[in-house]
C-alpha cells in the first residue's frame, strides 16, 4: 500500500512540476499574433497550393490581414481555390467589402492529337516535359506544342487535369479546376493559360501556340494556327490579335459571338466546353484522311495499348521523287522499291508506286510530294 502511495505521489509531483515548467515557458515565450490571421486561415481552403502567390494558406491569411490594416482593402489578393465565396468570408472577418473577380479556368492551348500531329521520333528518357523540352523539339515536328509527359498533371493538386490516352493531350476538368495556375507554371512551353471565362466557365480560345510561318506550322500539325487572319477579319469585338503568325483572343474583349470559330480553316478556335468543330477544309496532306480513318479504327486499341499508335497503321501513298539512299532507309522494310529506276539526278525524278505504312509527316520529312493513290 505504502509503495503504491509513494509511486502515485512521485509521479504526481513529476507531472505537476512538468506542467508548471511548460506553463511558465508558454507564458514567457508566447508569440503575439493577430487573432484575425487564425480566423482568416480557418476560412481559407487549406490546400496550400500556392495559387494565391504565397507559399501556403497561412501566408495568404497574414497577407490579407496586413493588407486590410495598411491599405484598407484586399486589392489583388485572391484565393483561386475558394473563389469568390471564400474571399467574401475573408472580407467579412476583416470588415471589408469583397470585390468581385471574374472566374478563371486553365485552358490547354494545343490540339496536337495523335492524328493531327503524328510522331516522327520517339523520346526515350525521363517522362517529364521539362527534360523532354531540352532534348529536342519533341516527338513531333511542332516545337511549340504539348509534349504530353504530364508535368501539368503532376502539378495539379485538385485532380483537375488528366492526359487523355487517346489524344495524348491534357484535358482540364473545368468543374474541378480552381485556376491556381500550378499547371501553367509547370508547363515548359507555356501552353496552359489561366483564362478569364464567363459564369458557365465558357469562352473562346485559340488552341494552338505554334509561332512558325503558316507553311511550317501546317506541315507540323493539322490543327495548327497558320496566322491567316481570317478570325481577325470576322471578329466584331476587335478581340483578336495576330502576332508571330499566331492568333490570340483577348478574353476581356471577346463577346463569344463564335464568328471566329466558324471562320477558322484549321478548327483551332473553340468554345470551351463545347465539342470541337471538325476540320473539314482542304487537308494539308493528301494522305491525311487515310491516316485519320486509320486512327479512328485503331482508337480503342490505342487506349488499351499505348505502344500501338494510330499512325502505325499502313496507309497508301504514291509519290515521285529522287530518293537518297538514306531516305530509302526511312522507307526500307516497309516499301518495295522499284529496282533500277532510282535516279540520283534530281532534275528527272523517278516515280515510285508502293504501299507503305508511312506517316504523312514522314513524307514531309523526306520532302516528298504526296498525292492520294
Amino acid at each position: 500500500m505504502n509503495e503504491i502511495l509513494i509511486a502515485v505521489i512521485v509521479l504526481g509531483a513529476v507531472g505537476l512540476i512538468a506542467a508548471l515548467v511548460l506553463w511558465g515557458t508558454a507564458k514567457k515565450f508566447a508569440v503575439k499574433e493577430d487573432p484575425r490571421i487564425g480566423q482568416v486561415n480557418e476560412v481559407l481552403p487549406g490546400a496550400n497550393c500556392g495559387g494565391c502567390g504565397f507559399p501556403g494558406c497561412g501566408g495568404m491569411a497574414a497577407a490579407c490581414v496586413k493588407a486590410a490594416d495598411e491599405a484598407g482593402e484586399l486589392g489583388s489578393l485572391f484565393c483561386p481555390v475558394g473563389g469568390q465565396p471564400c474571399m467574401e468570408k475573408v472580407a467579412a472577418i476583416l470588415g471589408l467589402q469583397a470585390v468581385a473577380a471574374a472566374p478563371k479556368v486553365a485552358v490547354v492551348r494545343c490540339n496536337g492529337t495523335c492524328e493531327n500531329r503524328p510522331r516522327l521520333v520517339s523520346y526515350d528518357g525521363v517522362q517529364t516535359c521539362r527534360i523532354a523540352n531540352t532534348t529536342c523539339m519533341g516527338e513531333t515536328a511542332c516545337a511549340y506544342g504539348c509534349l504530353g509527359c504530364g508535368d501539368c498533371v503532376a502539378a495539379c493538386q485538385f485532380d483537375a487535369i488528366r492526359i487523355n490516352p487517346e489524344t495524348g493531350l491534357p484535358e482540364v476538368d473545368r468543374a474541378k479546376c480552381t485556376a491556381c495556375g500550378a499547371c501553367a507554371k509547370a508547363c515548359p512551353r507555356n501552353i496552359i493559360e489561366i483564362r478569364q471565362v464567363d459564369d458557365q466557365k465558357q469562352g473562346m480560345v485559340v488552341t494552338c501556340m505554334n509561332k512558325d510561318k503558316g507553311a511550317a506550322a501546317n506541315k507540323a500539325c493539322a490543327a495548327s494556327c497558320i496566322g491567316c487572319s481570317k478570325c481577325k477579319q470576322v471578329c466584331g469585338a476587335d478581340a483578336i490579335t495576330i502576332e508571330n503568325n499566331l492568333s490570340y483572343i483577348d478574353a476581356e474583349k471577346c463577346i463569344s459571338c463564335r464568328a471566329c470559330e466558324e471562320a477558322c480553316p484549321k478548327a483551332c478556335i473553340i468554345m470551351l466546353g463545347e465539342p470541337r468543330k471538325k476540320i473539314e477544309k482542304k487537308q494539308p496532306v493528301a494522305a491525311k484522311p487515310a491516316a485519320a480513318k486509320a486512327a479512328t479504327e485503331e482508337a480503342p486499341k490505342a487506349v488499351a495499348n499505348t505502344n500501338t499508335r494510330p499512325y502505325d497503321k499502313p496507309i497508301e501513298v504514291k509519290f515521285d521523287a529522287a530518293l537518297l539512299p538514306s531516305q530509302q532507309y526511312m522507307l526500307a522494310g516497309t516499301v518495295d522499291l522499284v529496282q533500277g529506276e532510282k535516279s540520283s539526278d534530281s532534275a528527272t525524278p523517278a516515280t515510285y508506286d508502293y504501299e507503305a505504312p508511312l506517316m504523312p509527316s514522314q513524307q514531309i520529312l523526306l520532302g516528298l510530294k504526296t498525292k492520294k493513290a
Binding site: L120, C136, A216, Q327, Y329
Partner: protein
C-alpha cells in the same frame, strides 16, 4: 602513366574507323549553314537570296564578341535564308546555298606546302589572334567556344602553357586520331602559332594511350620544332572523360581548376583542341577560313565506317550514304560521340563547326533499359570526375529542391555522363542532374540580375 585524379569510367572504345584514311567527301547539292554554330551570340547573315558566293566567302558576321563569323564552304547561289533543324533538335535560322561548281576565293592558298613559323617570322601575336578571329575558328571538340575569346584571357591572368587536347576520349570517334596521323606537321605549326599568340614557352599535347601510332609520330615530329618552342607529347591512360577541359589540365600538369567563375587560365593553362590547332594553321598560314573539318561516320551496323574531310553544311545523310547507306536497324542517330553527343531527329542535320562525328546505333542499343530503384551502391559517386554525388543531385532535382542542389554544387557538373553510364540500376541520373543544373543556373542568374 598520367591521368586525372578523381573518378572516371572506361567505356568500350569501339574505334571502328581508326584505320580508315581521311576521304574527301563529295560536295553537297545544297549546303545549309545554321547561324548559331558556336556558343554565344548567333552570327548575322550578310547575304541575301540570289547572292553569288565562292568557297571561303563570309556569309554571316559575328554577332558580338563571343561569336564567330561563318564562311561558305561551297560556291553557288544563296537559295534562301530559312530555318533548319540542327543538332539541338529545334529549327534554327540558317542560310541555304545551292552548289554550282567549286570556285574558291582568290586569297586562299590551296597548295599542300608546309609553311612554318620560320618562313613567317614577321607574324606578331596580335596578327595571329586577329586572323584566328576573322577565320571564324571555334573549339573543334564539340563545345564550339569561339577560339579568339579563349585566347583573350582576363587581365591579370598569366598563361603558362598551351595544352592541346588530342585525347579523343569519346568512344567510336577517330577524327582527331586520323588528323594527327595525316597532318602532324600542320598541327605542330598550329601549336607554335598558338604559343606565339599567347606568348608562352611550353605546350603539351595530351594523347590517350590507345593511339600509340599517333603518340609515336607526334613525338618524332616535335623534334623538328624544338627550336621554335618546347612542345611535349604527354601519353595519358585511357579513361573517360579525359577530354574534359578540367580533367585534361589535371592529367597533364596536375592542377585542378577551382569551381566557376575560375577559368583554366586561372591555373595557367590555355586549352585548345587538336582540330583547332590544325584550323589555326590553315587560317594563319594558308589564309583559309574555317569551312571544312574531319568527321567520323561510324556505327556497328554501318557497312564502311569512315573519316571524311567534309565541307560544312553537308547533310549528314550524304555522309551516311557514302559509308554504305543507313542500315535498316538504325534506331538512333547521334551527332558526336555516344557519351556526350546529341541524338538527332533526322539525318538531314548539316555538318557544323562542332560536328566531330556521326554515330548510328541499332535499335537495340538505342533504347535505354528500364530504370530500377537506386540501390545506393555509390558507383556514381566513384565515377564522377567532379567529386559530386549524382545519386543525390538527381533525387533532389526530382523533388525540385533547388536550394539544396545549389549547396551540393550541382553547377560544377560537366555533364560527362559517367554517372549514368555506370549506374547498375540504369537510372536516368544525368537527365535529372541537367534539369537541376539548368534550373539552379537560372536561379543564380536571376539573383545576380536582381542585385
Amino acid at each position: 602513366m598520367k591521368t586525372f585524379r578523381i573518378g572516371g569510367v572506361h567505356p568500350a572504345e569501339n574505334k571502328l574507323s581508326a584505320a580508315e584514311p581521311i576521304k574527301v567527301a563529295e560536295l553537297p547539292k545544297v549546303a545549309v549553314f545554321p547561324l548559331s554554330q558556336h556558343i554565344g551570340a548567333p552570327a548575322k547573315a550578310i547575304v541575301q537570296k540570289g547572292d553569288k558566293v565562292k568557297v571561303g566567302t563570309m556569309i554571316a558576321e559575328a554577332g558580338g564578341f563571343v561569336s564567330a563569323p561563318i564562311f561558305s564552304s561551297v560556291s553557288g547561289t544563296v537559295l534562301k535564308v530559312d530555318t533548319v533543324i540542327d543538332a539541338s533538335g529545334y529549327a534554327k535560322p540558317a542560310i541555304y546555298i545551292t552548289v554550282e561548281g567549286d570556285e574558291w576565293e582568290a586569297g586562299i592558298d590551296r597548295s599542300k606546302d608546309l609553311v612554318t613559323l620560320k618562313d613567317r617570322r614577321e607574324l606578331t601575336s596580335d596578327e595571329i589572334k586577329e586572323k584566328i578571329k576573322n577565320a571564324g575558328i571555334v573549339g573543334m571538340g564539340g563545345a564550339c567556344f569561339p577560339t579568339h575569346v579563349k585566347l583573350s584571357p582576363p587581365p591579370g591572368s598569366k598563361p603558362e602553357w598551351i595544352i592541346i587536347n588530342a585525347v579523343e576520349c569519346e568512344p567510336y570517334l577517330t577524327a582527331d586520331h586520323r588528323l594527327m596521323l595525316e597532318h602532324a606537321d600542320e598541327i605542330l605549326v598550329g601549336v607554335t602559332l598558338l604559343m606565339k599568340a599567347m606568348n608562352v614557352g611550353k605546350a603539351y599535347i595530351g594523347i590517350e594511350n590507345n593511339k600509340p601510332d599517333a603518340i609515336e609520330l607526334m613525338k618524332s615530329k616535335t623534334m623538328k620544332f624544338i627550336h621554335e618552342g618546347d612542345i611535349e607529347i604527354v601519353p595519358l591512360k585511357v579513361k573517360y572523360p579525359q577530354g574534359g577541359e578540367k580533367q585534361l589540365i589535371d592529367a597533364v600538369v596536375g592542377r585542378q581548376v577551382p569551381a566557376p567563375p575560375a577559368l583554366p587560365v586561372s591555373v595557367g593553362a590555355i586549352l585548345q583542341n587538336v582540330g583547332t590547332a590544325f584550323a589555326v594553321y590553315e587560317a594563319v598560314m594558308k589564309n583559309k577560313p574555317l569551312f571544312e573539318r574531319i568527321v567520323t561516320v561510324t556505327g556497328k551496323s554501318l557497312a564502311h565506317p569512315s573519316n571524311f574531310l567534309v565541307r560544312m553544311g553537308t547533310p549528314m545523310s550524304q555522309l551516311i550514304d557514302a559509308c554504305g547507306g543507313m542500315p535498316e536497324d538504325t534506331g538512333k542517330l547521334i551527332g558526336g560521340g555516344p557519351m556526350m553527343g546529341k541524338a538527332l531527329i533526322n539525318a538531314e542535320v548539316p555538318i557544323c563547326k562542332g560536328s566531330s562525328g556521326v554515330l548510328l546505333m541499332n535499335e537495340q542499343e538505342a533504347k535505354r533499359a528500364e530504370a530500377q530503384p537506386c540501390i545506393r551502391c555509390a558507383k556514381c559517386v566513384s565515377a564522377c570526375p567532379m567529386g559530386l554525388e549524382p545519386f543525390l543531385l538527381s533525387k533532389l532535382a526530382e523533388v525540385h529542391d533547388w536550394e539544396r542542389l545549389e549547396k551540393e554544387d550541382v553547377v560544377s557538373c560537366i555533364e560527362c555522363g559517367s554517372c549514368q553510364f555506370t549506374c547498375p540500376s540504369h537510372r536516368p541520373l544525368l537527365d535529372y542532374v541537367r534539369l537541376g543544373k539548368s534550373t539552379v543556373l537560372g536561379i543564380i542568374h536571376a539573383r545576380k540580375a536582381k542585385a
